[in-house]
C-alpha cells in the first residue's frame, strides 16, 4: 500500500463493508457466495482486522483463505482464488453447512420482509410471472443450514414512481420465498422447523442497520450520519420496532479504508450502489 494521502472520509460502500465485516465473528467458518462484492471485501477486511482466525471460504471457487491480488468483476476468477490454502468441492461446502459447521453466510434479496425472508426468484404470483430474477444459488439451503445469516442490500432507498407508489426493497410481502428468515411462508416460527441454523441477526442497508428482536422481527439498530429514523421509516414497506439505544453506525478506521481501496482498485463494489449513493461521503472526524 503506497498511498500516502491522509484518509479523512469514507464512502457509503466502505461504511457498508465495515458494517458487514463487524457481523463476522473471529474463529468461525464463513462463506461468501457470488455476485456480492461488498461481502467479499468485508470477509477479507474482517480477516485482516478483528477476525484473523476466520476460515474464509471463497464463493464459486470454494478456496480456503485465498489472498486475491484484486477484486474481479465476476466471482469464479483465478484472481479470487490466488494462494488459497486448499479447496473444497461444492458438496463439501454445503455438507459443512448441513452438519452445523458453517458459522455465517451472507444473503440478499429483491424483497426482504420483516422476518428476514427473501425473494430473489421472481416477481408476480403463481399464475403470472412479471419479472424473472436470477435466482438464489444455494441461498435457500444455506438460510436454513448456516448458523447465522447477515442480510445486506444496497437498495433500501426506494423512490416513488410518478403515481407515488414505491416498490419497497424492505417489503411487506415476498412474492416468492427463496430463503427463510424467522417465519416461514406458512407463518410458522423458525423454531418449528428442523433447520440447523438460527437465522438472520442483522440487515445492513444503504440507510442503516437492523437487528432482529426476540420475536424474530427486524428492529432498527443504527442510522448513518446522513440518515434518520424518519427517512428509514419512509423507505421501509413495513412498520418496525426501534432499539432503545438507537445509534449512529461507527465508521471504519483509516487503515481499513486504505485496505478496501487497495483490494478493490477497479471499484467493483460500487456497482452494487446507485449512482447517487456513490456520491455519499462521511467525514471520519464528525462521528
Amino acid at each position: 500500500m503506497s498511498k500516502r494521502e491522509k484518509i479523512t472520509r469514507c464512502t457509503l460502500g466502505e461504511l457498508m463493508i465495515y458494517q458487514i465485516a463487524l457481523t463476522i465473528e473471529d474463529g468461525i467458518l464463513a462463506f461468501h457466495g457470488f455476485g456480492s462484492p461488498l461481502v467479499q471485501i468485508a470477509l477479507h477486511l474482517a480477516k485482516r482486522s478483528h477476525a484473523p482466525n476466520l476460515i474464509l471460504v471463497a464463493g464459486a471457487t470454494y478456496g480456503i483463505n485465498p489472498k486475491p491480488p484484486f477484486l474481479t468483476p465476476t466471482t469464479n476468477d483465478f484472481a479470487m482464488n490466488r494462494d488459497a490454502e486448499c479447496h473444497l468441492s461444492i458438496e463439501e461446502l454445503f455438507d459443512l453447512a448441513a452438519s452445523g459447521r458453517l458459522g455465517r453466510m451472507f444473503l440478499s434479496g429483491l424483497q426482504i420482509d420483516r422476518w428476514g425472508n427473501m425473494n430473489v426468484t421472481r416477481l408476480g404470483d403463481d399464475q403470472r410471472l412479471t419479472l424473472k430474477l436470477p435466482g438464489g444459488g444455494g441461498g435457500c439451503n444455506l438460510s436454513a443450514d448456516a448458523d447465522r445469516i447477515t442480510i445486506w442490500t444496497a437498495a433500501h432507498r426506494t423512490l416513488p414512481d410518478d403515481k407515488g407508489r414505491r416498490r419497497y426493497r424492505l417489503a411487506e410481502h415476498c412474492d416468492f420465498i427463496t430463503s427463510v428468515g424467522h417465519r416461514t411462508a406458512q407463518g410458522l416460527p423458525r423454531s418449528a422447523m428442523t433447520y440447523r441454523g438460527r437465522g438472520p441477526d442483522c440487515i445492513v442497508t444503504d440507510l442503516g442497520v437492523f437487528g432482529f428482536n426476540q420475536d424474530g422481527h427486524a428492529q432498527l439498530r443504527a442510522t448513518y450520519p446522513d440518515t434518520t429514523l424518519e427517512l428509514i421509516t419512509e423507505n421501509t414497506g413495513f412498520a418496525f420496532p426501534v432499539a432503545e439505544n438507537l445509534k449512529t453506525a461507527a465508521l471504519p478506521e483509516p487503515e481499513m479504508i486504505e485496505f478496501i481501496r487497495f483490494f478493490d482498485p477497479l471499484k467493483i463494489h460500487q456497482r452494487e450502489l446507485s449512482a447517487e449513493d456513490r456520491t455519499r461521503f462521511f467525514d471520519l472526524k464528525a462521528v
Binding site: P73, T74, I90, L131, P134, M193, T194
Partner: protein, 308 residues
C-alpha cells in the same frame, strides 16, 4: 448406469454434440464466467436441438445463449445472471417472462443431494432445508417425511439423472480421462450422475501426460470427446485464458436491444454463420484477441486491464 470402456472416444465437435436429443435434460459444467462449454453450445444451436431442460448451480452466458437461441423449454438452474458485472441475463429473463421457458428454479445443495442419490443408486436424499420456502410449490416432486430415527421432519428430493453432462476441460487423453485445473464446480457430480458425458477439451494429450497431471474424472464415465481449443470462450479457462469481458459486453449489449436484434447481431454472426470453432475464433478477434486473454499472468496491471 452405463459405463464406457472404449479406448478411443475422440470425434468431431459435430458428432460429439449429436449425442444430444430434443427434449434432453442437460447438466452444463463450469460456473458463472468459468469454463463453460461454449463451443459445444454453439454447435448445439447450429444443430437445432430444442426443448432442452437445463439443470445446474450458478450459470450465466451459457444458459442465456441457449435461451436466446430458443433451445430451452425448462430451466431448473439455481442462478442465471452476470453477477455485478452486467446484471440480469436478458435472454433468459425474456424466455421466462414470455412463458417460453418454464421456471423450475432449484437450489445448489438440493441439486447436489439429487445428483448424489443418482450416483449412489438411491431413489432420493433428504435435506433439512427447502421446507418453509416456495421451492416446495415449484417442485411438487419433493416430499416431506418424519425421520424414523429422530422424529424430525425432512424434505426428500428425488434422484436426478441428467441425460447429458456437457463439460469443457483443460486436458483429456484419447480414452477420455479428464483433467480440470482449478475449481471443478459440479462437473464431477454431473459426470457421475448423467447417462452420457460429452466433453470438449482444450487439448488432447497422451495418457502418460494426463496421468502426470492427475485424473479429475476417470475415462469410463465419458461417452465422447472432442478437442476444442478456446472452447470456453468468452468464459475463462485459466491458466490458458482469462474471461473475455469485452466480448461479453458485446454479447450483453446485443441481448439488451431485444430478441430480434440479438438474433441478427449476435446469433447470426457469432454462432450460425460460424460453421466451426476456428471460424468463431477468427470472428471474435483471432490471434490478437487470444494472446491478449493469455496475458493475465504477465503482471497484475495486464490482468486488471482485461477487466476495466
Amino acid at each position: 448406469m452405463p459405463i464406457y470402456p472404449e479406448t478411443d472416444k475422440r470425434c468431431s465437435l459435430i458428432s460429439l454434440v449429436s449425442h444430444v436429443r430434443t427434449g434432453d435434460c442437460i447438466a452444463i459444467g463450469g460456473g458463472l464466467s468459468w469454463r463453460e462449454p461454449m463451443a459445444a453450445l454453439r454447435e448445439l444451436i447450429r444443430q437445432g436441438v430444442k426443448d432442452l431442460k437445463l439443470v445446474g448451480s450458478a450459470h450465466g452466458i451459457d444458459v442465456d445463449l441457449l435461451c436466446g437461441a430458443g433451445c430451452v423449454a425448462i430451466s431448473a438452474e439455481s442462478y442465471v445472471g452476470f453477477e455485478q458485472d452486467f446484471g440480469m441475463a436478458l435472454n433468459y429473463r425474456r424466455a421466462c417472462e414470455t412463458g417460453v421457458v418454464k421456471v423450475e428454479d432449484n437450489c445448489c445443495y438440493t441439486m447436489v443431494q439429487q445428483l448424489r442419490a443418482a450416483i449412489q443408486g438411491l431413489p432420493f436424499m433428504p435435506v433439512r432445508s427447502v421446507q418453509g420456502t416456495d421451492f416446495i410449490k415449484l417442485h411438487p416432486e419433493f416430499k416431506t417425511m418424519v425421520c424414523p430415527f429422530t422424529g424430525e421432519t425432512l424434505v426428500l428430493v428425488p434422484a436426478l439423472k441428467p441425460d447429458i453432462a456437457l463439460l469443457h476441460v483443460h486436458y483429456a487423453d484419447s480414452q477420455g480421462n479428464l483433467h480440470i485445473d482449478g475449481p471443478p464446480v459440479a462437473d464431477i457430480l454431473f459426470a457421475k450422475a448423467a447417462a452420457k458425458v460429452i466433453v470438449t477439451a482444450e487439448q488432447i494429450i497422451s495418457p502418460e501426460e494426463l496421468a502426470q497431471l492427475g485424473v479429475t474424472i476417470p475415462y469410463f464415465y465419458v461417452t465422447a470427446l472432442s478437442e476444442a481449443p478456446y472452447g470456453a470462450h468468452p468464459t475463462a479457462c485459466y491458466p490458458r485464458y482469462a474471461y473475455d469481458r469485452d466480448h461479453t459486453a458485446t454479447y450483453y449489449q446485443a441481448a439488451k436491444k431485444g430478441a430480434d436484434y440479438f438474433q441478427e447481431n449476435y446469433l447470426k454472426p457469432f454462432v450460425q454463420d460460424c460453421p466451426d470453432q476456428a471460424s468463431y475464433l477468427t470472428m471474435v478477434g483471432g490471434e490478437a484477441k487470444l494472446s491478449r486473454l493469455a496475458q493475465w499472468r504477465e503482471s497484475q496491471e495486464q490482468w486488471q486491464r482485461l477487466y476495466e
